[in-house]
């Protein structure tokens, strides 16, 4: 098991390093790269000073080396637009994204497993069709538009929930107020993430239901519900666990847009601001952090997977 864990961690580090290579060189070798960004409408001497200030006067490989060296020590450079260390900006925003992400992930997982189970139990019945309609809608409706519609309904018309932000001004200690701000963005994000969980749960349960040991349990005369929850469910959850890694990646993508809709000051919104302002160090840092989190979650999922299903460790 230790060897397996070490190998997975090593692989994760390699993937992360490659993520840094891909993003760094995409940005730095592009025609509109950082050195172009500091050269708009400036005199030659100003340009030179700026290039020097941002360390852009070195060849790109040297710059990558310096940048990576900093990254390893937790130094992600300084934001062009805000003049603050990128690491500090990320540290300020990350907790907000994690709050939103965890709330959405939890909701999507619980609801997804519930709906998937219902669909499998009542296979081909109206419940199954209803669930399948909900998941297809979840896959088709743009999250940001659903967010806008939710704002129209719950903030503009009904005035139940605040339209944007993370907390009302001057009430930062009010838990209920924070919760009210969280409901809409987390709910919308969860709705777009749920379809994958529902589908995998449903098909995994149906698959397990065909297994010999489940047939044996049924043959022994156990009541169907007992077979489902005592025997089938545990094994059906294994593929569901696997899909959570994929869902986490989608979560980060989704949060970029959802955070903008609801004015949620998270990582995604920081990345958008950086993209709009061509703030390269920030967008690099945010992407790398998102990659790190995705790799970490997938590593965790893989390890849990190996714990749950011993066959995997020995491949």
């Amino acid at each position: 098991m230790t060897a397996y864990i070490l190998r997975r961690i090593g692989l994760g580090i390699i993937v992360l390093w490659l993520v840094s290579v891909v993003t760094f060189f995409l940005i730095n070798l592009a025609p509109g790269g950082p050195s172009a960004a500091v050269s708009f409408e400036r005199t030659a001497s100003e340009r030179e000073a700026l290039l020097k200030l941002y360390g852009l006067d070195d060849p790109v490989l040297v710059r990558y080396g310096k940048w990576l060296g900093g990254v390893v020590r937790g130094d992600l450079g300084v934001s062009y637009n805000q003049g603050l260390p990128v690491a500090l900006l990320l540290k300020q925003r990350l907790p907000n994204t994690l709050t939103l992400g965890l709330a959405a992930l939890l909701t999507a997982t619980i609801l997804g497993i519930l709906l998937g189970t219902l669909a499998a139990v009542y296979r081909n019945g109206w419940v199954d069709h209803l669930v399948s309609t909900i998941t297809t809608l979840g896959m088709s409706i743009p999250g940001f538009w659903l967010g806008i519609v939710a704002i129209i309904l719950f903030a503009v018309e009904l005035r139940w929930l605040p339209a944007s932000g993370i907390v009302s001004s001057g009430r930062s200690a009010d838990f209920l107020d924070r919760l009210k701000h969280l409901v809409m963005p987390a709910g919308v994000l969860a709705f777009t993430l749920m379809p994958n969980v529902v589908r995998v749960t449903r098909s995994a349960l149906l698959e397990v239901n065909r297994a010999d040991y489940v047939r044996t349990a049924k043959g022994k005369g156990l009541p169907p519900n007992r077979v489902l929850f005592k025997h089938a469910f545990k094994n059906a959850l294994v593929p569901v666990l696997a899909v959570l890694g994929l869902v986490t990646t989608a979560l980060f993508s989704g949060s970029v847009v959802i955070e903008s809709v609801f004015g949620w000051p998270g990582l995604g919104r920081l990345a958008i601001e950086a993209a709009n302002g061509r703030d390269y160090p920030v967008i690099l840092g945010a992407t790398l952090l998102a990659g790190l989190l995705v790799v970490a979650v997938n590593l965790l999922v893989d390890l849990l997977y190996a714990v749950v299903d011993p066959r995997i460790r020995h491949d």
Binding site: I14, L26, A30, W145, V156, L251, V256, A274, G291
Partner: protein, 293 residues
């Protein structure tokens, strides 16, 4: 599609009428898919012919007639600059659908080439390509797209390529798995034994077996690409105004939610219906190609 594809492929010239009757039987079993396809045809016709039939220009502003309710002149009313909403929805649809289709072509082409090479040649090629796929899968799509758009700007062509790059890795994964599977079939071995070159074997024998799966991916991919372009344009990083797209129409609409919420409803409704149709069509095609169904 796996088993039927393997057994039907080596057959010599199946009777045409019998196979088309069989196909029709399969098609008939997917009424929802047929509805989705018809809906897409109607949408396609509406956005291509709409501007010819509907006289209002999508970009003409009218300062005296801003945020107007629907009327005989402006069927869906006007936006904050007095532009005709229906004309913009139609023009935006043309942009969103084209970007979606072309981005899918980009993603599917890169994905098929990469996944195909990896699955066919295996070995070191496979390790290298699939590791790159892992890397792209580790970067959340939207962050990757932001990086590319920041670096390369947001010309419509760039947006198309960017959105395509956003999902080539998923495509490559599926195509790779299919190639690995088909590669193991006996008729491939037979083709090789008869002296077929690698390119010929790949293109003539393996690729056709992967086509059904690729069609399903393409249909789901267009939906995904339209959603992504809409999100990107909504954030102001995709298609730039005054050129309308369903996404960037929503960008301004959010400022007028309290005054005129309908502005935010129409473009989103069109995105949802279009993507829904592509997803339903994709699922129907998947069921149709599934031999177990």
């Amino acid at each position: 599609m796996t088993d039927s594809a393997a057994t039907s492929a080596p057959q010599t010239a199946p009777e045409a009428s019998a196979s088309s009757a069989k196909l029709w039987r399969k098609v008939r079993r997917q009424p929802l898919g047929i509805v989705a396809l018809l809906l897409l045809v109607v949408l396609g016709l509406a956005v291509t012919l709409g501007p010819v039939i509907y006289a209002q220009a999508p970009n003409r502003t009218d300062a005296r007639n801003t945020l107007k309710a629907p009327s005989a002149e402006h069927l869906l009313g006007t936006d904050e600059l007095g532009r005709d909403v229906l004309a913009r929805v139609l023009a935006g649809g043309r942009v969103s659908l084209s970007v979606g289709l072309l981005a899918m072509v980009v993603g599917l082409t890169i994905g098929t080439i990469a996944g195909g090479l990896a699955g066919y040649f295996r070995g070191r090629t496979e390790v290298m390509i699939m590791r790159l796929v892992d890397v792209f899968m580790a970067i959340p799509n939207f962050f990757l797209i932001l990086v590319v758009v920041t670096a390369f700007g947001n010309h419509p062509i760039t947006v198309i390529v960017t959105v395509g790059i956003g999902f080539w890795a998923q495509m490559a994964r599926v195509v790779h798995a299919e190639f690995v599977k088909v590669r193991g079939y006996e008729f491939i071995e037979a083709a090789r034994a008869l002296g077929a070159t690698h390119p010929r074997t790949m293109l003539k024998h393996v690729l056709p077996q992967v086509v059904p799966q690729a069609i399903v991916l393409a249909s789901l991919g267009v939906g995904w690409a339209i959603l992504t372009e809409a999100g990107l344009s909504y954030l102001g990083l995709g298609i730039q105004p005054p050129l309308a797209s369903w996404g960037n129409m929503l960008q301004n609409a959010q400022s007028y939610l309290w005054l005129k919420p309908e502005l935010a409803i129409y473009p989103g409704l069109f995105i949802a219906i279009t993507v829904l149709a592509f997803n339903v069509l994709g699922n129907a095609l998947r069921d149709m190609f599934d031999p177990r169904a």
